[in-house]
């Protein structure tokens, strides 16, 4: 085990408890509270923030332009056609939802596994989830053709006396994604309530006091409240865990239930979930690395966090690699002519380049280098790698959607896919919207959960232990 190898004077070990230190040394309850709340309560907004805000805002505006034009002209402005009727919209939908999954994994699953290190990154990972789901949820609706009739998806008593078809995976999607969005927002908000109380108590301006006071619902830290709060948090984590696994499973059903070579496989649910977590952790790194640098949070988001996220990516990356391997194996083992042709065409057909981009970005680069501790703790390398994996995971969805569709069963029905400028504008626009929402979040809400960080400090541990012994 790693614990027996470390020397006693290892700076990563807390001398008073002998446990791994996840927070930098010398922090107190007050110092972490002041550090985190000051980022929000300071009246001085850094110029860099305005720069990112403007660029992201421009991106979000571009999305509005693209969507407005789409509403006026219809989906014909996109590259979707027969046989590739699912283009960028579905690729981006799956990619964004996948990114969100790491946030829930960090906040829920790692909470249940008592991984204390998650506390530093859980809040902004959850925010990332919500904003990613906002971006994702837009695409299926925009793809509807007549998006203003999107509410037909919901079961409601209409004058047409028509009801939805509940046997369709597309219908399951509606409930999976809407539940996921709702529970993510509730979990995020409930997790923030005690911190909003702190913000209310530390705010200087009248407006901020009212703003955080309203949001904090009058939290005052009674231990009776805390106990119910802890129970509710654990229950929400326990509920979010099967939820997050079900969401990407249901999304993979959109593909797997269709009788199409390249989609019709049973490996899809686990392989989609692992891929989602893989890309999500990459996105957490993409956000965490600049954030800790920009706001000087190196004592709270330590190298150990980067290292641990690298390990999770290594593990999920191998599950994804297994998925790719199994697809190739089944193409041969199924003895289906169509499956074999699809796989051959996916690798060496006219769009074969996209498959090799995916293999390079998702397997070749990360799965060879993430073994090396030196690289896992290298901030610059991990940032580079997070971009590589995000690109690779986008191409994974591109490969699944496009290369399964563009060679239909009959050669007369073959086609190709070419995204238009509106496709690119919509995609880049959601990147802008995501960043726009995220910079607003880091400016106005505490991005690191203060109450959870306090629990990690040695002052919280030793004293409580000592009295428990003295009392018994």
């Amino acid at each position: 085990m790693a614990t027996s190898e470390v020397k006693t004077n290892d700076p990563g070990i807390d001398p008073s408890t002998g446990e791994f230190r996840v927070i930098g040394p010398g922090q107190t309850f007050r110092s972490v509270t002041e550090k985190i709340s000051a980022l929000v309560l300071t009246p001085h907004t850094p110029m860099g923030w305005f720069a990112i805000f403007s660029v992201a805002g421009a991106g979000a505006s571009m999305l509005m332009v693209a969507v407005t034009w789409l509403f006026l002209k219809g989906v014909g402005i996109w590259g979707v056609t027969q046989p590739v009727a699912w283009g960028f919209a579905i690729i981006n939908f799956v990619w964004w939802i996948g990114i969100g999954h790491a946030g829930t994994l960090i906040s829920a699953i790692l909470l249940l596994f008592k991984q204390g290190w998650r506390n530093s990154i859980s809040r902004f990972a959850e925010a990332m989830t919500i904003f990613a789901v906002v971006c994702a949820g837009m695409f299926p609706v925009l793809h509807l053709g007549r998006p203003w009739l999107g509410y037909w998806l919901f079961p409601y008593p209409s004058t047409m006396t028509v009801w939805p078809q509940f046997r369709s995976p597309l219908m399951w999607d509606v409930f999976a994604v809407s539940t996921y969005a709702t529970i993510s927002v509730v979990f995020w908000y409930i997790g923030m309530v005690p911190d909003l109380g702190t913000m209310r108590d530390r705010a200087q301006s009248k407006f901020a006091q009212y703003f955080y006071g309203l949001l904090s619902v009058g939290w005052r830290g009674s231990v009776r409240h805390w106990m119910r709060y802890e129970t509710a948090s654990l229950l929400l984590a326990g509920l979010a865990t099967p939820l997050v696994l079900s969401v990407h499973t249901v999304i993979s059903f959109d593909f797997a239930v269709a009788v199409l070579p390249g989609w019709h496989t049973t490996i899809f649910p686990p392989y989609f979930v692992a891929g989602a977590i893989y890309s999500g952790f990459a996105m957490v790194l993409t956000l965490a690395i600049p954030l800790r640098k920009f706001y000087h949070l190196e004592a709270l988001v330590t190298e150990r966090h980067i290292d641990n996220m690298g390990k999770v990516m290594l593990a999920t990356g191998f599950i994804v690699a297994y998925g790719y391997g199994m697809e190739i194996f089944m193409a041969w083992y199924s003895a289906s002519h169509w499956e074999a042709f699809m796989m051959w065409n996916r690798m060496f057909g006219p769009m074969g380049w996209s498959y090799w981009v995916l293999v390079t970005c998702n397997l070749a680069i990360p799965l060879t280098t993430l073994w090396v501790r030196k690289l896992r703790t290298s901030i610059a390398y991990m940032f580079f790698l997070s971009i590589v994996v995000n690109t690779g995971m986008w191409f994974e969805r591109f490969v699944i959607v496009v290369t399964s569709l563009y060679r239909d069963f009959l050669p007369s029905a073959w086609g190709t896919y070419r995204a238009t400028k509106w496709d690119y504008m919509t995609f880049v626009g959601t990147l802008g919207l995501f960043t726009f929402l995220f910079v607003l979040f880091v400016r106005f809400l505490p991005m690191i959960p203060m109450n959870e960080i306090r629990m990690l400090l040695p002052a919280a541990k030793i004293k409580a232990k000592a009295t428990a012994k003295a009392g018994d």
Partner: protein, 180 residues
């Protein structure tokens, strides 16, 4: 209804969770029942010290989840079998395996909402005003780094002078009287 004027209680401030737990445990042993602790992060031992062991959040969550799942499954069956049956190649209308996914999602949705809102309701939140916010040292400490024990005036044992002396015996940082 509790009285809306006069003294709400006496608030003792401690620097460490250990001191708070010791004081709370002693106060509970000495027969105090209307008392509460306020901490900047969850301190389980303090809740146990004042005799708070169980809560009803899990039960509410269970009921919410069961109701959500049953409601969606019922809706699906009603729509697919009674309200709008579709005959697709003679396949059965009551195709329950296909109904599981939305029912499962709604189980989680309503369980999660019940857990969150049930917790807030049991805690009596939102409560934008509370007499404790009147205490001069409460707002700087309770949500940052201080640990408080409050003996409430509604306790039959409560007598302002005696309770103050009693709290001071625990050597807190300060003892203040909280007004409504």
């Amino acid at each position: 209804m509790p009285p809306r004027e006069g003294t709400y209680g006496l608030l003792a401030e401690f620097d460490t969770p250990g001191d708070l737990i010791r004081a709370a445990r002693q106060a509970r042993q000495d027969g105090w029942r209307r008392l509460d602790c306020y901490t900047p992060y969850p301190v389980e031992e303090a809740a146990e010290a004042i005799g708070f062991h169980r809560n009803k959040v899990p039960l509410i969550t269970l009921i919410g989840g069961l109701m959500g799942g049953a409601a969606m499954f019922g809706l699906e069956v009603w729509i697919s079998v009674l309200a709008y049956p579709l005959n697709i190649g003679g396949r059965p209308t009551y195709s329950w395996p296909a109904f599981i996914v939305p029912a499962y999602e709604w189980t989680i949705l309503f369980a999660g909402l019940s857990a969150a809102f049930g917790m807030l309701a049991l805690n009596g939140l939102p409560a934008p005003y509370h007499p404790l916010f009147n205490a001069p040292n409460f707002r700087d400490g309770a949500t940052t780094d201080k640990f408080f024990l409050c003996l409430e005036a509604l306790d039959p044992k409560f007598d302002l002078a005696e309770a103050k002396k009693y709290l001071e015996s625990f050597q807190p940082v300060s003892v203040v009287e909280v007004q409504y």
